[in-house]
């Protein structure tokens, strides 16, 4: 039997006051079972990132419930939230902004292991194990982030999220700042982790192709609502909602957009 790790029920979020009040999320409901990856797609302004912030507790919803392992986060006090927060970890989008340039990779990971007293020396073995999980050498712990490429930094960010031993990982556009060969590297690491650790993940992206390769199920957001939530294969094979259809049809598949004149490479 699978455990329901994350459940959102009727979540409403709005920003601003009076006439400038903007509703960002309308009655959003989501469930995520252990070991599953839910791909969340939608265009800019559809509320994906706000939903991610709600899930990790950075934004408090006006209404609705957020259950982590059955515990309600929306009604929780400051301390309970702090405790619940560690059970959900976020991998941010930009690997160049998400690591402190003045801290070695080892210190950054040690801080994730023990936020109060973490020192790299005290957790050497754990750090090496974490780095191994994302296919990096243990000696990476002694270097500063600038020594690493974008893909390597993103792998370090993943290792940091794993260090907490979280129940859910929220990956917010983790590959959109990366070149496609580097993106493949990060997707490969996530794929292996899903297989080896039964990782439960909310994978947010605007890129349908990427979502297809990472997710077990896919939810489509538009205008602050979830318009479709289905198993991956079903949503790509037979989308039901009009917006999902439009989204899928818009992805450039390399097929020519018009009839081509007979041009050939100059010989």
């Amino acid at each position: 039997m699978t455990t329901r790790v994350l459940e959102l029920d009727g979540v409403d979020v709005s920003f601003g006051f009076g006439s400038r009040r903007k509703h960002v999320l309308h009655d959003v409901g989501l469930t995520l079972d252990e070991g599953r990856t839910l791909g969340l797609v939608g265009e800019s302004g559809s509320g994906k990132s706000t939903l991610a912030k709600v899930v990790v507790g950075l934004v408090r919803p006006a209404a609705g419930r957020i259950l982590i392992d059955g515990e309600d986060m929306a009604g929780a006090g400051r301390e309970r939230i702090a405790r619940l927060r560690r059970r959900i970890q976020l991998i941010p989008q930009d690997p160049y902004a998400s690591l402190n340039p003045r801290m070695t990779v080892g210190d950054a990971l040690a801080e994730a292991i023990d936020p109060l007293r973490g020192r790299a020396e005290a957790h050497r073995d754990t750090i090496a194990a974490l780095l191994a999980k994302v296919s990096m050498d243990a000696d990476a712990a002694d270097r500063y982030p600038h020594a690493f490429s974008g893909g390597q930094r993103q792998r370090i960010a993943i290792a940091r999220a794993l260090a907490v031993g979280p129940e859910v990982i929220v990956a917010d556009e983790v590959t959109s700042a990366l070149d496609c060969s580097v993106q493949a590297e990060v997707l490969g690491v996530l794929r292996d982790l899903r297989a080896s650790m039964r990782l439960t993940m909310l994978f947010i992206s605007h890129d349908l192709a990427v979502v297809r390769h990472v997710s077990d199920e896919v939810a489509v957001m538009s205008g602050g609502r979830i318009v479709e939530h289905e198993q991956r294969d079903r949503i790509f094979a037979s989308p039901q909602h009009d917006y999902t259809k439009l989204l899928l049809a818009s992805v450039p598949d390399g097929k020519p957009l018009r009839e081509r004149r007979g041009t050939a490479v100059s010989k």
Partner: protein, 663 residues
């Protein structure tokens, strides 16, 4: 991307002393030495009474004597200690108090922070010297009082800078991540905030030193600072002032001292700011690399003759000679859509910007031939012909329009300035172009500001603006990268329409293979500043590429309609300065041969009619070679999906070695 290519690879800031900084530090060191030794050497002379008062400058008393007959030069030298001590005291109070206050306000939480910042704003609006004068006047005047007063009065500046910088750093991802991890505020401050804001604070410390020097001297000069019998430079200035019209000499000593010390503080501040600025970094001087002179004769004379744009052996280089674009040759036929794909740093944007004469400052381009139409770009082409014959669409529509000007003026500007078209006619044409670009309400848009349009509408307006002058060549640099996928499809269609309607040739730069192959006729693949393959869009679409890099790129691209797992390319591209002698892709290539490390491959026609710069697949005589590629690339795909990502190919070891060296 253009900027990224110029940036040094390692963003670690290192202190690089400027001449100003060295001069400032030298003067400051001399003053400190003086402060240490002067009272011992000249102490007695400075205090000795009984000399002749009001003496003018002479060889015995360079700056004359004061009303009590004491030597002003000796007194000035001796006063260095008191003055500097007071300045350091005030600066220390300001820095410790201010940074502490700022940090405390920042840690205390959002509500306190809000109120605290307003309070600091109020405090900062009071002139520090005035505040100090009041404090000094109310308490009994003296050295300690004025030091404390000036120190406290300078606190708000530090407090505000600290909170502002902290807020700035706190908005960064790594701080919010640390928060999510449960790192408590004080530790957050110590480990994440302070190390990242230390540099600007250090600069402010040196500025505060200069400010307190002026303020303290001012107080002493007014008589509410240092009291008799002690003296500092300000006090000496005040003493000398009494008889300045008869005997100006005594004023010179303390004046020069104050100016020198102030200058030293200022120079140190400026020097620190310049030395710590990340923009100053980079620019390693490198010796002459073995120059691969392009016998690349890649440019086809017959194709070039009627071409709308030609670049032959184009080299874009940094001032130190590093080639960011290394011998690229291309030609674009009239009405043709040519795509350039490559990853960031591959030089695709630089190549395109060379064709528009829009390279960022320190970069220079050289080419055997570089022209658009009959406009020669190697010399100094006329600006108005550049503006009218080449249209450009940038990646980010939100930054390519000026936000404070209405669209109408921006759209008609080129026509009116360079096209010699009247206001009304320019307007009419602009509206027509907006209509053609499917911008909604074209008339009304002319009166709107760029921010009133959505991203998609803005990019349409950008295309309309680029097409207004009926350019021969439209350069579109990642025109859809910042757009949503549904809008992207529409903008791409729009480019095709413009191409068909006016026969405008398009050079489309993109990192997205799918975008390029759905729009272009012909595609150029770039890697590490070089052209590695040229093929038709049809070949690219059919994944019928020959060059190992193009194949790897195709294998790394996830497809929305396929389940094949994207395969990563081991290693990473070389820095332009460390480009290997032979093929730039050799260290990451699965088909590498010894010759690849030694000799740069030329573009050659392959079996399928594409042109690839590869020693292995470029050999049409060897029938087995392309087959080996066929087998090679898919194998790599399988291996990556089975084994945990990371070292899979035998070549990976070599690639990692290369990577280590690159660091």
């Amino acid at each position: 991307m253009t900027v990224a290519a110029v940036k040094p690879a390692a963003p670690r800031r290192r202190l690089r002393p400027t001449p100003g900084l060295i001069a400032g530090l030298t003067v400051m060191a001399a003053l400190l030495l003086l402060a240490l030794v002067a009272p011992w050497i000249w102490g007695d002379e400075a205090e000795a009474l009984g000399g002749t008062p009001y003496l003018p400058s002479s060889s015995e008393h360079w700056f004359g004597t004061d009303p009590q007959g004491r030597d002003v030069l000796a007194r000035t030298l001796v006063a260095t200690r008191t003055t500097l001590l007071m300045c350091f005291g005030a600066t220390a109070i300001a820095a410790v108090g201010g940074i502490g206050l700022g940090a405390a306000i920042w840690v205390a939480g959002p509500r306190v922070r809000e109120i605290g910042q307003r309070l600091i704003d109020v405090m900062i609006s009071y002139p520090a010297v005035l505040l100090a004068m009041i404090v000094a006047a109310v308490l009994s005047p003296g050295a300690v009082t004025s030091v404390v007063a000036i120190g406290l009065a300078t606190c708000p500046a530090f407090a505000r800078l600290t909170t502002n910088l902290a807020a700035n750093i706190a908005a960064r991802d790594f701080v919010s991540t640390a928060r999510l991890l449960g790192v408590p505020p004080l530790r957050l401050l110590r480990r994440h905030i302070v190390p990242n804001i230390a540099e600007p604070l250090l600069v402010l410390v040196s500025v505060a030193f200069t400010v307190s020097l002026k303020a303290l001297s001012g107080l002493s000069f007014l008589g509410i600072g240092v009291q008799i019998p002690s003296y500092d430079w300000g006090k000496l200035l005040a003493d000398g002032l009494q008889d300045i019209y008869n005997n100006p000499a005594p004023v010179i000593g303390p004046s020069v001292a104050i100016v020198l010390a102030g200058l030293a503080g200022g120079l140190i501040g400026d020097g620190l700011a310049a030395a710590l600025s990340p923009n100053e970094g980079g620019g390693r001087a490198r010796g002459d690399r073995a120059k691969v002179k392009a016998a690349l004769g890649a440019l086809d004379a017959s194709a070039a003759a009627g071409a709308v744009a030609v670049a032959d052996d184009l080299v874009v280089s940094l001032p130190d000679g590093t080639r960011l674009v290394d011998g690229v040759s291309l030609s674009i036929a009239p009405g043709e859509i040519v795509g350039v794909v490559g990853e960031s740093g591959s030089g695709k944007s630089l190549t395109a910007m060379s064709l528009a004469k829009l390279l960022p400052e320190p970069l220079r381009s050289d080419a055997a031939q570089l022209r658009v139409g009959d406009l020669d770009l190697t010399g100094n082409p006329s600006r108005s012909r550049l503006a009218t014959e080449i249209g450009i669409v940038y990646q980010d529509p939100s930054s390519s329009f000026n936000p404070v000007l209405k669209l109408g003026g921006q759209l008609t500007e080129t026509l009116r300035v360079h096209g010699g078209v009247g206001r009304g006619e320019a307007r009419r044409r602009a509206v027509e172009q907006l209509k053609l670009a499917h911008v909604t309400h074209p008339e009304a848009r002319m009166k709107q500001y760029p921010h009133e349009l959505s991203g998609g509408q803005r990019q349409r307006a950008m295309i309309a603006s680029a097409m207004l002058t009926k350019p021969k060549l439209l350069i579109a640099d990642e025109p859809t990268t910042a757009l949503d996928v549904t809008v992207q499809a529409e903008v791409l269609k729009l480019l095709l329409e413009a191409n068909e309607r006016d026969g405008t040739a398009i050079l489309l730069i993109s990192h997205d293979i799918a975008v390029v192959s759905s729009v272009c006729d012909r595609v150029l693949v770039m890697y590490s500043g070089r052209l590695v393959e040229e093929l038709t869009a049809g070949q690219l679409r059919a994944k019928d590429a020959q060059h190992p890099y193009t194949r790897a790129l195709l294998a790394a691209t996830p497809a929305v309609d396929e389940d094949t797992e994207p395969a990563s390319i081991p290693g990473r591209p070389p820095q332009p300065a460390d480009r290997p002698a032979g093929c730039a892709f050799a260290p990451r290539c699965a088909l590498v041969r010894p010759v690849c490390h030694e000799e740069r491959p030329l573009l050659r026609i392959t079996g399928t009619g594409s042109r690839a710069a590869c020693h292995v697949v470029g050999e049409p005589a060897e029938a087995g070679a392309p087959a080996a590629v066929e087998a090679g690339a898919p194998a790599a795909v399988h291996e990556t999906s089975d084994v945990p990502a990371g070292p899979v190919l035998p070549e990976q070891g070599a690639a990692q070695d290369a990577e280590e060296t690159a660091r």
